[in-house]
């Protein structure tokens, strides 16, 4: 083989931070959108749940707040979408990247850890924007009329994302990839039904409901319902609950995450 002399002459150096971040965000987003199960989890199931639960009458919702069915369900589905993207999807993808040595290998490139985590964060944020746009569009088509301050929604989604991402990364960084896959799906499924997302916790016995109300899924869904359904201001208790989850889970992930 003849190679041009000087092709490999050393000239090392990292790219600019914004190029690193853009490249990492774009690959993370592309890989998610290309992955069949991720698409199912993040978009298809939330949209189908919205359509089926709103239009079919087998779910008889007795809500204490007196919200209509669509006003109750769409904020819950938005919370579900955040959980899908920031918890289950992130945990599974990161778990398998760890298992296949991707995280280890990227650790030997000029991409710093903040670049990897920043890319993942931005990719989750863009995915959430897509989810919110699609689910809101379907909701509006089904008669949903959102109220409230978009800034409050933004704060809730950011806090919810931080809480779920911390839990997802903690799981991905400590369990085997198969265990993460199973656990992340199981938790998603349990919280869908018992985490205040599609069934109101008020239909459960008082003591149980009070405890379950502190789950991140319940705090996020309840907060979104309060803002979007009732047009209320920022639900402080829900935000504080989500922030507490975020601090504990991100702290534990930073402490216990194993890169290989």
């Amino acid at each position: 083989m003849t190679l041009a002399p000087g092709l490999f002459t050393p000239d090392p150096g990292p790219a600019s931070w914004h190029q690193l971040l853009r490249a990492q965000t774009w690959i993370e987003l592309k890989l998610t959108l290309r992955h069949g199960e991720q698409l199912l989890l993040n978009l298809v199931i939330p949209v189908l749940l919205t359509v089926v639960l709103v239009t079919q009458s087998f779910l008889d919702l007795k809500t204490t707040s007196g919200l209509s069915k669509v006003d109750f369900l769409v904020p819950g589905i938005l919370a579900l979408a955040v959980m899908s993207a920031a918890f289950t999807g992130l945990a599974i993808a990161t778990g398998f990247e760890r298992r296949y040595g991707v995280l280890k290998r990227l650790g030997a490139t000029p991409l710093p850890r903040w670049g990897l985590l920043g890319g993942k964060t931005l990719a989750v944020a863009v995915l959430e924007l897509i989810q919110i746009a699609v689910i809101s569009g379907v909701g509006v088509a089904l008669g949903w009329r959102p109220h409230g301050n978009p800034l409050s929604v933004f704060v809730l989604v950011v806090c919810g994302t931080a809480a779920f991402a911390g839990l997802g990364l903690l799981m991905a960084g400590t369990l085997r990839a198969e265990a993460t896959l199973a656990a992340a799906n199981l938790v998603w499924f349990l919280l869908l039904f018992a985490g205040g997302i599609v069934f109101p916790l008020s239909s459960l016995p008082g003591g149980v409901a009070d405890v379950l109300g502190f789950l991140p899924s319940a705090a996020l869904a309840d907060g979104l319902r309060t803002v979007l359904g009732e047009g209320a201001g920022l639900p402080v208790q829900d935000v504080v609950t989500l922030l507490a989850w975020a601090v504990v889970s991100l702290g534990a992930a930073a402490r216990y995450f194993r890169w290989e």
Partner: protein
Amino acid sequence: MTTNATARRAGPSGQRLHSVDVTPSTHARTLAATEWGGEPLRSAAVEVTGLVKRYGPTLAVDELSFTVPRGSVFAVLGPNGAGKTSTIETCEGFRRADGGSVRVLGRDPVRDATELRPRVGVMLQAGGGAYPGARVGEMLRLTASYCRNPIDPALLLDLLGLSDSARKPVKRLSGGQQQRLSLAMAVVGRPELVFLDEPTAGLDPQARHAVWGIVEALRSDGVTVVLSTHHMDEAERLADEVLIVDAGKKVAHGTPAALTRGEQPTLRFRADATLDADALLALTATLPAGCVAASTGDGGYQVTGPPSAIGPHLLAAVTAWCAEKSVMPSDLQVGRRTLEDVFLDLTGRELR
């Protein structure tokens, strides 16, 4: 030890980035103290001193020391479990030394990781570490986009015979294709030093030659290469210096020429008929004084004797005897022992 390396690098090889390249390593070490602009300019590419690495009760690396001069190709040879990967991964900053010290480009591979990462290219064993769902071209372009002045990814894919697979997902590549992608990822950022952990394991002959071509081009462009391998011919062909390790310890270190020198020269051949002890005695009787024919135990035969006797007359005597007995000799060669012989002598012939 480095005369071979120096001679090879003296050829036309384009611009030299590091003037220290042609300095023998012992000299480089004495100059290591000379700092310039905060950079230990004259430091060796890799300097390992008394490295100890433990996994629980297992001692994987036991007081290993070696120095890799800048601009050279350095091969680490050893049987499975000899501590090659532990040593290399400690130099890459993936593992912390349990004892001793490791300096890479004059820096600490763990503490100074941020500074070293762009300057050091890494190929993991078995070519791992690409996103399984990413396409080949996409993965290499991603790695290139982390770097300030990368080599054109399309050119690298072409050099490594991966152009036709550029749109294939990484998870559908063969093992050999993954290895080549991993090599491309290691060099795309124009690093000063690359670590290649078994770069040709499981490759077909064409792919091996492509990888060798890249390693030779890296050296002539002034890049330091540290590679581990099981293939003796690879080390013999590529490396300026070879370090043979076994059970975490250094068992030999030097140029391939130095390691295979010093043995008495030998004539080796195979035969299409079995030569028993009597036949070998008869053969010995016809040979120049001091030469002895013997079986090597693996179906081959060898004649050893004083260096002055190993020459054309000996060759003529052996072939004449074979002609008389109607024995066809094959693989007939005169020379020193190979690196493989050195390796097996040092690390033992039994499987472990």
